[in-house]
């Protein structure tokens, strides 16, 4: 049975999806680092990004505007969500906050259904649609955009956290909130900022993938779950882990779909999560906590 030829194609598909999972996983990781909670509304940010960009594109057919506009609007949503739904909670124990994020996710999805209906919408590819040939596989320019922009965003994120004052402040809050407060870092603002940043990453992921998979009001649920799995697989809290987890998940999914059966795609993704949780619960790159 031929393996090499289709293998390359599955890898292309796997890396594309993997990049999207990586971006979503990063969103989970950033919020986890800042607050030790899981923001289950992260998947809905992906959906909102895609649909907002599509709506902006319908008003003014400019892709850069749609991209920036979509990311901008969803960042605001993320910031507002933190401010209105999470900050006012009197007894902020992690379980309560996590449940609030779940409720937030359902609410956002419902609002999206009212605003955009249940139909799917298309976003044009960022550049032309002519497939390129990479050996025996064909790659669409959009696949390259996804992987390329994701890599760029990950590098930018690393630079932000290592080189800028704000980034360092966020990392300080993640290591030890009390100590960070003592040296004058406004921890509350860092938390809010982490929500905004995660929302922006999620929105970016949604806009990148929309030309390939269409935007629908319920696309966020499964993507959020898979992104969360990717974050766990790579090690919650580790940025590189999130990227690795995402790529690994995407590739394993594609290979299983191609070589075993397409029906098992989702099952394999979650099976991988279970295997990692059994064998190495802190994730591949997660340190001891």
């Amino acid at each position: 049975m031929e393996i090499i030829a289709p293998l390359l194609q599955y890898l292309v598909s796997g890396l594309t999806n993997g990049a999207i999972y990586a971006l979503i996983a990063l969103g989970f990781g950033i919020i986890y680092n800042a607050t030790t909670i899981i923001n289950f509304a992260q998947g809905e940010m992906v959906m909102l990004g895609a649909l907002c960009a599509i709506s902006i594109y319908h008003l003014e057919p400019s892709l850069p505007l749609a991209f920036l506009g979509g990311v901008g609007v969803v960042t605001l949503v993320g910031l507002t969500f933190e401010r209105l739904a999470l900050r006012p909670v009197k007894d902020p124990n992690p379980l309560t906050l996590i449940i609030i994020t779940v409720g937030g996710a359902v609410f956002i999805k419902g609002v999206a259904m009212l605003l955009w209906g249940k139909e799917a919408y298309a976003l044009p590819s960022f550049s032309c649609n002519v497939p390129l040939h990479l050996g025996t596989a064909t790659v669409l320019p959009q696949n390259l955009w996804v992987v390329g922009l994701t890599a760029l965003l990950v590098l930018a994120l690393e630079a932000f956290f290592r080189l800028t004052l704000m980034g360092k402040a966020m990392r300080a809050c993640a290591y030890n909130t009390r100590a960070a407060r003592l040296v004058g870092i406004a921890a509350g603002r860092m938390v809010q900022f982490s929500f905004g940043l995660s929302a922006a990453l999620g929105a970016g992921a949604g806009i990148l993938i929309a030309p390939l998979t269409l935007g629908v009001y319920d696309m966020g649920t499964m993507l959020g779950l898979k992104g969360f799995s990717a974050a766990i697989i790579g090690g919650l809290g580790s940025l590189l882990g999130g990227v690795l987890g995402g790529l690994l998940l995407g590739v394993v999914e594609a290979l299983a779909s191609g070589f075993i059966s397409s029906g098992y795609r989702d099952a394999v993704a979650f099976l991988l999560l279970l295997v990692v949780l059994f064998l190495r619960p802190q994730g591949l790159l997660g340190g001891q906590k």
Binding site: P6, K118, A122, T213, S262, R265
Partner: protein, 387 residues
């Protein structure tokens, strides 16, 4: 004593007056005919259920505006099964026991229809399904209370294979969705292929909510298939078209009649050009000759639907249209008698509908022939008739 008596008489007179007035009120309104509907208005099949619900409401309004059926107003009770089998069953029970309907129209999907017909057959209630699976109305002996208005997938498959044979194709790959519609289609595609000298060299499956079919198409690429037949409904089939172009697979793509809508063309974009499918006449009615009796019916429906809902009418709404229209024909003759309604439905002949010209019989509760379909091709973003 006297004042008590007077009060008593006055009281009695008052009561008597009220009774007489009550009896002499305006003539009692004729009993409304209560018709139940179950559609997948939300959920993955909402592109089916929404136009179906809209059409039911629009038609019921029209009928009542014209005085109802022989004076009886029509009352439509619509429930949303969300594409879920359990909900569909519960709604069916509710319609029968609580709303006491005379008949049920729907559901929108094959697998929900199969569950609901179980309930309606036991309750001896006529069911007119808007789904296409062959098993809904066959075997006829076991489906005496079930009818359907969607063209059977078996007919769609015949038309496709007829076309394929004419093109000299002998090997095809089939790519079907994992829902009831896809499973039924896959059965028919496999069963009918030998009759047209066609061999199915690859069989792949995808999920309704999948976003990437390149693995399945990559597998098909390595087979000697000369064409790909995709059987599904919903946005995912537009993605199949896109993925096909993406892989540079230069094979003709044939879709099921589930793709016969403007929304599909919109979603598939450039990848839609060249796709072939069987379609009900509604999507191409403007191209039909005036002599075609379906043209006027389709035109009337499309214009009224667009005026009210600001969106083009779809074949899916057409299934509900035909269901309700035929039910009203039966109601006018049979009145509020379920048994008689069933017999009248079975005897409908030559009803010119949106989905085709219906000729029901005790052995055929669908009443359509393969002529209900026309083969169309998407060319430059619009449907064109294929000879």
């Amino acid at each position: 004593m006297k004042s008590k008596a007077i009060t008593g008489v006055l009281g009695l007179a008052l009561v008597g007056l009220l009774l007489v007035m009550g009896g002499c009120g305006p003539a009692k309104q004729a009993e409304p005919y209560v018709i139940g509907s179950i559609f997948s208005i939300t959920g993955p099949a909402s592109y089916l259920g929404e136009p179906e619900r809209n059409t039911m409401e629009m038609l019921a309004e029209q009928i009542n505006a014209q005085g109802g059926l022989k004076g009886h107003p029509v009352k439509v009770v619509i429930y949303d099964d969300e594409g879920d089998v359990t909900k569909a069953r519960l709604h069916a029970e509710k319609l029968i026991q609580k709303d006491k309907v005379l008949a049920i129209i729907g559901p929108s999907l094959t697998h929900t229809s199969m569950t609901v017909l179980d309930v309606t057959q036991k309750a001896k209630l006529p069911l007119i399904s808007c789904a296409a699976g062959v098993g809904i109305t066959a075997p006829a002996a076991e489906r005496q209370w079930v009818f359907k208005t969607a063209q059977t997938d078996q007919m769609a498959v015949s038309r496709i294979y007829q076309w394929a044979k004419k093109q000299g194709l002998t090997k095809v790959a089939i790519l079907t969705v994992s829902t009831g519609f896809g499973v039924s289609g896959k059965e028919q595609l496999n069963a009918l292929a030998p009759q047209y000298g066609i061999e199915v060299v690859a069989q792949e499956v995808f999920g309704e909510k999948d976003t990437d079919m390149t693995p399945q198409l990559t597998k098909i690429k390595s087979t000697p298939a000369q064409a790909v037949i995709c059987w599904g409904t919903g946005p995912v089939i537009a993605l199949v078209a896109k993925n096909l172009k993406q892989l540079g697979l230069n094979l003709p793509l044939i879709q099921s009649h589930g793709a016969a809508s403007q929304k599909f063309i919109e979603l598939a974009g450039e990848a839609g050009d060249g796709i072939i499918m069987p379609a009900g006449k509604l999507v191409v009615y403007k191209l039909l000759p005036d002599a075609d009796p379906q043209k006027a019916v389709c035109q009337g429906y499309d214009e009224k639907y667009q005026a009210k809902f600001k969106a083009p009418a779809s074949s899916f709404g057409g299934y509900a249209f035909d269901s309700l229209k035929m039910l009203t024909l039966a109601l006018e003759k049979a009145g509020a008698d379920k048994d008689k309604i069933r017999s009248e439905l079975e005897n409908i002949k030559n009803y010119v509908g949106i989905s085709g010209i219906f000729n029901m019989s005790p052995q055929d509760h669908n009443g359509l022939t393969p002529d209900a379909f026309v083969m169309v091709k998407i060319d430059k973003g619009a449907f064109q008739l294929l000879d």
